[in-house]
Symmetry: C2
Subunit: 472 residues, 2 copies
């Protein structure tokens, strides 16, 4: 991976000051000249750093005056607290909530802040259809034939090629395709653990992961997790002797939006390697980054083949295509065998379409556009939450992905808020869904993978006013 340009380094340093509230909304920034002197860089570099911050809407220029921290910078709302899961499991309550929320997902009359996928408007549907037509011409039997068990070769080759964006050295042979990322996680868990084994996960974590682990009879250990830097490694270290495997959503975790810093990823992989503990890495949001570069996955630091790197295009191209994959390291044969036993092979057509899409550079072009839209959305959302939600609201700072984690007044019961919001045709994902413990009852996940509009702003305002009323 290339070195970061100097102006980016500077922009990041200033951004950090804004995020840490060293620089507050409305504060005047040092002049470009000061930055030039302090960092020992050219005028040009200093200017570019400011432009970068402006592009990200963190600062705004005022004519004849200089640069100021913008109110879009989201620095007012503090980040949610690091989770501290207890040991009691309250499985049933979460399941009921999940069922309730899922039932709302097909009703298009509802504003679905609860949904975890991008809206149709964000997807390159016409271009995918072109690739589909192409695939019926290229494929043996127009895609009616069984695909190789390991998966469509064009798709695997292009995922391998694409891994250069994070310095990956994968080959087509390292990869196994699956019916989406959850399907990849399912094969990984089945390959690595048996009933009674313990799996360590982030907390909060995507409920599908929790429910899958429970359904396989695994014991789930929820590890305290920071809303910006992800799983707390010190907490994990303490339980290492008792766990069989670990699972992290390393980049733009759902529901927190957290992204483990590179050094944490390295440390995590090393720590687990020492104990020969496999790591399932769900990296399905990694391509949707708002920064300059794609964050590396833990897989980039895997020397022993212990990291099973999972991904999909369900969050970037086509959830309904059911195209995902895993680079299972040294567990490849087990994963292929499980795929053969449970599903024989993956859908031939949709794999070929995605393979083609990646090969022709359409994926990259699409992602560039999508990232810009999502970053703008995330800023719209945080600003609206700042404007309409109760004073003590905390909100996460995703640097990629689709979701925000909102922590409300500790006395506010979000499952009740869910019911009230649904009466206004607004659906949210209550925090309680993302844990097997009795926690996060005052939290919610909001998806900003929706087309921004005045209507959406109104719905967020309504949500905020419901919350305010409930506190009173």
């Amino acid at each position: 991976m290339k070195e970061e340009a100097l102006y980016i380094v500077i922009a990041k340093a200033i951004e950090q000051q804004i995020r840490n509230n060293v620089l507050k909304i409305g504060d005047k920034l040092p002049s470009i000249r000061t930055v030039k002197r302090e960092y020992g860089v050219s005028m040009n570099t200093a200017t570019r750093a400011f432009f970068e911050l402006e592009r990200k809407a963190l600062i705004e220029s005022r004519p004849q005056s200089g640069f100021y921290v913008s109110r879009h910078s989201r620095s007012r709302l503090p980040v949610p607290t690091t989770s501290n899961p207890s040991v009691l499991s309250h499985q049933e309550q979460a399941e009921n909530l999940i069922d309730k929320v899922y039932r709302s997902l097909n009703d298009t009359s509802i504003t679905r802040f609860s949904i975890g996928v991008p809206a149709n408007e964000l997807l390159p549907i016409a271009k995918l259809n072109k690739s589909l037509l192409q695939a019926t011409r290229t494929l043996d039997g127009s895609g009616t034939a069984y695909e190789e068990i390991q998966g469509n070769f064009k798709l695997r080759r292009n995922i391998a090629r694409w891994s250069f964006t994070w310095g990956g050295m994968l080959t087509a042979d390292d990869l196994v395709t699956t019916a989406g990322a959850m399907n990849a996680l399912s094969y990984c868990m089945m390959a690595l653990a048996k009933k009674g084994d313990t799996i360590a996960v982030e907390s909060p974590v995507y409920f599908g992961i929790l429910q899958l682990a429970k359904s396989l009879g695994l014991e789930v250990l929820e590890i305290p997790t920071h809303p910006i830097t992800g799983m707390e490694l010190d907490a994990l270290r303490k339980v290492l002797p008792s766990i069989k495997l670990c699972l992290v959503v390393s980049n733009f975790n759902n529901p927190l939006g957290s992204c483990m810093p590179e050094e944490n990823k390295k440390a995590l992989v090393n720590m687990l390697s020492e104990h020969e503990i496999p790591l399932i890495e769900d990296d399905l949001y990694g391509d949707v980054y708002f920064g300059e570069n794609r964050p590396k996955p833990c897989k980039a630091f895997d020397k022993k083949g212990l990291v099973l790197w999972c991904g999909s295009v369900s969050k970037t191209l086509a959830p309904g295509y059911r195209v995902g994959w895993v680079a299972p390291g040294k567990f490849k044969e087990q994963v292929i065998r499980l795929k053969l036993l449970h599903a024989v092979s993956s859908t031939t057509l949709t794999q070929e379409v995605i393979g083609d899409f990646l090969e022709n550079g359409r994926y990259e072009a699409h992602l560039r556009k999508m990232r810009r839209t999502l970053q703008a959305n995330s800023l719209h959302f945080t600003r609206a939450i700042h404007d309409y939600f109760p004073e003590e609201t905390r909100v996460s700072r995703p640097q990629g992905g689709f979701v925000l984690w909102v922590e409300l007044n500790p006395n506010l019961n979000v499952p009740l808020l869910y019911d009230q919001a649904m009466r206004q045709k607004i659906s949210i994902a209550p925090g309680r869904m993302f844990t097997l413990q009795n926690q996060f009852n005052n939290c919610m996940r909001l998806s900003y993978g929706l087309q921004w509009s005045d209507e959406l702003e109104k719905k967020l305002a309504m949500l905020g006013s419901i919350a305010k009323k409930m506190i009173r």
Copy 2:
């Protein structure tokens, strides 16, 4: 279901005499006049019965002489013996064989009698492509969106509608779609049994079922199975107290080609119901019947919701589409939940295509053609086996499906024959793959789902001559 026409009943009676060797190849049949008198039917009905037998190539007319049992009637080769599985498990040997055979499946330079799917030439590829184009126009987001967890509604509605062919009273709500029939079996097994439970299956049985059950930690009980009438119910009755669930491929079982008579199906369902034992019914070949009507599945006799009826279009339309389904009876919620946990949903596009294909009557038209081709193929194959294989060869009598079960001299080692045949670019499926016991070492499964040609005939002749040499 409609009553069988009288001429069919008569044709079947005569067919039975041919199959039981009461009438042998070259035997002259009674005259049409005699049949008219004996059965007390019109001349027209008697004539139609003979035409029916002639259509099936069981008899042939000789000018000015009458009708004779044709050499296509396959009556010379006796049917294979009823299986008698022992209790010892020899898992590893079967796995190695399966791996070996699977590796040959992508090599198109090999004549693959080992393959379990129809050749491209038998599939309605152009028409499927039309439905695909239609689906991109009909579907929300051209099929990029997640489908309902339970499955595409159009597909479910049309499978339900189609169930009228066997007197089924299913509704769309009774069905859950899956990524093919094996995927349906996987959810069913996971929903019904846990590690250590015992499952009763036919013997021989499709190896995927055996391997899946073992991988889930189930104990597999192989029940003696007759090559024409399927699982021996008396043998099953004896082990009922020890089994948790039962699985049958009721219609044109793979690899035997057996089809349980209706009264056996009824008896099986009743027997299991008394003990509240669920029955997983894999009915993926039922639509490919050679007779007048589709044989009913066990599901038709299910009063308690204990039968989980599974199917797919992998053997009739498009293996690579990964479209299958299950009507899980009273276990529906468990199955839906497992689908959600392991795969979230099925591929939207291919489900819609198949739903459309069924809705527009294209499926029926296609099946009519395919059945004729496959029946003709089955006769070509049996005739060729009769002509080229060793004297003591036994062969099954499939009345539908794609596969023949061939039993050779007890001293002949078919796994060795496999290796020799592969040197001639011929691949077969050794019988040993279809059991966890040490049996069927002198058996093989041959698929006739291939386009018949002189080339194929030559390959069968080569196979026969290899077998003859090995016996000498």
